[in-house]
Amino acid sequence: MMRRVLIANRGEIALRIIRACREMGIRTVAVYSEADADAPHVMAAHDAVPIGPPAAAASYLNVPAILDAASRTEADAIHPGYGFLSEHAGFARRCEDRGLMFIGPPSPVIERMGSKTAARAAVAQAGVPVVPGNTPKSQEAADVLDSLARVGYPALLKASAGGGGKGMRIVRTEAEAAEAIDAARREADRAFADGTLYVERLIERPRHIEVQVLADGHGSTVHLFERDCTLQRRHQKVIEESPGPTVTPALRERITQAAVAACRAVGYVNAGTIEFLVSGEDFYFLEMNTRLQVEHPVTEAVTGIDLVRAQLLVASGERLPFRQEDLTMRGAAVECRVYAEDPSANFLPQTGLLLRYREPQGPGVRVDAGVREGQEITVHYDPMVAKVITSGETRDIAWARAALALRGFEILGLRHNIPFLLALLGHPDVRAGRIHTRFIEEHLADFTAPAGDDAALAQVALAAVMADAAMSGSASPGRAGETATGIDPWSTFGPVAW
């Protein structure tokens, strides 16, 4: 077993990995940018090493600095988390070259599955259905246009190195093509330093269903069933659940077998996810994520398997401690991603100080977050604040717990998407599972309505009291000495500044 793991990431996923390591008696090393010097993941690790300025390119993507931190702290393994360097084959190779365990698949597998075209070819050969597509002869705009014409409109332009919807554009007519090619290439270039594009047929109104897999280095590959991640906005997942509410036992059998076959075909090792577009009972391979997913807790909730622990075991060369027939799904789970973004202003990312931050608790409620009260949410990184994962014996119970947890989540100091998540959870089509990947875009007005008057007026009254107390700067008339818990809202007031 590894002794000391460097976590090349930040935020909630770094905390998640640190926790799993500590449970297994493994020492942990955090790395951090100048913007994260007092971030929770830095506090949680045994050791922490600064790796550069706030910009991700200079810190969390800074391969030499991270490798240097690993050697200085004598780490023998690196966990990349998700995002950043997690699917960077060159980084994995450099770890391997230095004798560092890279907690993920071998670098040639990352490289192959990271190229969407190579991945498609590899899984198609294993008999897994793929979306019809075309790779341009060259990256000249004329050749990309030619590929679009061959596939036919509406088509989807995608970044070969892409993920998370970056560098992706729907092209409905030839007239939109030139502008879309430019925009997709620019976005891909900036996000992945690789503007290579390819073209796929657009499958209209599909669901996004993915299969979690785990493979060890001893020939065992298992799946951990599916997650339905159909609720997306601009290709960013918003709410994910398991089991898929529309997945029949027959489809589950076929899609999970296809995922396992795809993994075996490419010699996959460690945790991974095969994403499919599903239309009716038909499914098409979309891409493989050769890493831990943001939404992995949903699978953990329904299978009871700790995926990060499994990753650490497999990376250490051990066998998976369970077989396929040991794995079952129990009940249902749903994850809501809380983002610092303003649903009423086109979801613009928000920055600000977390003036008050209190996570919900309760049976079947898990909150994975990497922030704390008093922390600044900056412009430098992903705007995800927290993941709220709820589970229960049935989907209805899991969803009721999600709504209750979100309503009780106190986040003050910046705008966030909890009202939007609550509107989604309560929407009849979402409840019934009658959705597709563009559902949010098509029904946006249903989810971004402002709060009713009564709630607004109560808060107007409260805001005025807050202002008044700040102005008078003294004890409040409503206060009767110290409260039983010692928490006194009035004590949060500082001197008046307006």
Binding site: K166, R186, E187, R190, A191, A345, N346, L348, P349, Q350, L353, L355, R356, R358, V379, Y381, D382, L406, R407, G408, E410, I411, L412, G413, L414, R415, H416, I418, P419, L421, L422, A451, D454, A455, A456, L457, A458, Q459, V460, A461, L462, A463, A464, V465, M466, A467, D468, M471, S476, P477, G478, R479, T483, A484, T485, I487, P489, T492, G494, A497
Partner: protein
């Protein structure tokens, strides 16, 4: 002693009178009784309805949260002359961001929804679009520039 406040959420303004725990809002019947709770939150009672909310004060504003929905408020003494943000013909970035592209120059005629400037923050590109058909009066930013919400990027006529 009662004090009067003008409280705004940026879209609407209310005239509010605060007298200890008793609050009245102009145009609304009945009083709101606002009391701190032992858990650090607040209870607001109005017309026999009790709601629970959180509140916190930032440098320039007050935040409240109820049932998962947060709102930022500006509050000024009713006697103060300070006025709230006026809607004007200036295009600003909604947050600290980098200018990715500039699509107009002074004198450009634009249609409603046309992209004027594209900014990027948190790895996301955001087009800033014309609110209505108009002519660009001046452009005050360039590609690569880091801009703040206070920076006027484009002026419209």
């Amino acid at each position: 002693m009662a004090a009067q406040w003008r409280v705004s959420n940026g879209q609407r303004e209310w005239l509010v009178t605060v007298d200890g725990t008793s609050v009245t809002v102009e145009g609304v019947d009945g009083e709101f009784v606002v009391m701190p709770r032992p858990d650090g939150r607040w209870s607001i009672t109005h017309a026999d309805q009790v709601s629970t909310a959180s509140a916190a004060r930032a440098d320039q504003s007050i935040w409240t949260e109820m049932d998962g929905a947060g709102t930022e408020w500006q509050a000024h003494p009713a006697s103060s002359r300070a006025r709230h943000r006026v809607v004007d013909d200036s295009i600003r970035s909604p947050m600290s961001a980098t200018v990715v592209s500039v699509h107009v120059t002074a004198g450009s005629a634009v249609a409603e929804g046309d992209p004027l400037v594209v900014v990027e923050a948190m790895k996301m590109e955001m087009p800033l679009r014309a609110p209505s058909a108009c002519v660009v009066k001046a452009v005050h930013c360039q590609v690569g520039e880091l801009v703040q919400p206070t920076t006027v990027l484009v002026e419209l006529e």
